[in-house]
Symmetry: C2
Subunit: 222 residues, 2 copies
């Protein structure tokens, strides 16, 4: 079938791009960085991809050993796609590239642009992952609109996962507008709580400390 288009260069970068360089591939992997996902959820979170192209990309990424198709343990028993270890190895690359691109992003979403709190959270996770997190260890759940995700801070890795954690030090509930306002520093968590826009269950102090590091990057001067 696929003629396997290739740059035909004996070079690591060219080889990486042979595998990852086609349209949508890295965005599929971005979604999987948040955890295993179902086909339909991937399609929903990648508006515009078209179901045929999603299937094609998933197949070629699976062939390349970057992701695998598997089945969630009972009682879920649903088929999902998840990163392999090789795919997980792309996390630093995708985080760096996201941070680089964040600087090119307009301050406000303009026009018909899809927005997800979890995309911002991934960028925030990249920031947190590059700072000292001692004393912040724990799990922090977020409900933002209809999105559910959580942040885990361990020894020296910070990760954002989609879904609901088994347990958490704190659970924050808010709406997207408030979430983004806090994330880029326009609103303090303290003020948001006072106004009833941010509701926190659990360890408020620790969540407050988390939010000091879990935010969008400073933007370069225009």
């Amino acid at each position: 079938m696929s003629t396997q288009r290739s740059y035909r260069q004996h070079c690591g970068l060219a080889r990486a791009l042979d595998v990852l360089g086609e349209r949508w591939s890295l965005l599929i992997l971005r979604e999987l960085l948040l955890g295993p996902r179902r086909y339909g959820d991937l399609a929903a979170d990648l508006p515009g991809i078209g179901t045929n192209l999603l299937a094609t990309r998933l197949r070629s990424l699976e062939e390349a050993g970057v992701l695998r198709r598997t089945t969630l343990p009972a009682p879920a028993n649903v088929p999902v796609y998840e990163l392999t270890e090789r795919g997980e190895g792309l996390r630093p690359v995708l985080e760096e590239l996201a941070l680089w691109g964040y600087d090119l992003l307009p301050a406000e979403p303009a026009g018909e642009v899809a927005t997800r709190a979890s995309w911002a959270a991934m960028t925030m996770g990249a920031v947190l992952d590059r700072t000292d997190t001692t004393g912040l260890e724990g799990t922090f759940a977020f409900s933002v609109g209809d999105e559910l995700f959580y942040v885990t801070v361990a020894d020296d890795a910070a990760r954002v996962h989609q879904g609901v954690p088994p347990a958490a030090e704190a659970h924050a509930t808010t709406d997207p507008a408030t979430f983004f306002a806090i994330a880029d520093g326009r609103l303090s968590p303290r003020q948001a709580m006072r106004d009833g826009l941010l509701v926190v269950d659990g360890d408020r102090r620790l969540l407050g400390r988390l939010l000091a590091g879990f935010h969008l990057p400073a933007r370069a001067a225009a």
Copy 2:
């Protein structure tokens, strides 16, 4: 002209891919990581690109502020393309991605595959850049077949540049086969010198120490 195809997602990664995600773009930037290049040289080092596509990419990358078109100072006075600071900011991303892809590369170039010592050198530079280089500071020139490049090791940055350095601690001359054999550890520099396959001018000891760190990455087990 170009409808500026975009993923239309308010996400750093998606934005980065809007700018860099099209075919050939990152390979053009790879070439520019080695220094300013002329249009014709880019075309020659990217076999298969097609001159129209090269022109289109250069234009859009210039518009994105990743590279600029400029003129080399007299007496050269030739037009070249070079990275902007924003483009230079992609170096860590490209190095990480190249290291990731290097692992997928077959041990031997198979079939009709272009090979350049400078591509390997870039990967080797990425390795060197991630190790401690104290005591290795200096400039080291290489002539490999018809390729000329040099490695600079400063405080804690190692870089590979195309061309001839103003001055160097040592100058190594060899053929591609010997260079690759040394680079991936199949041949010791010492042995290559004894066999007359590697000729070194200047500080042999320091060059020998450089080559201890300037090599291709260890390959993951198959």
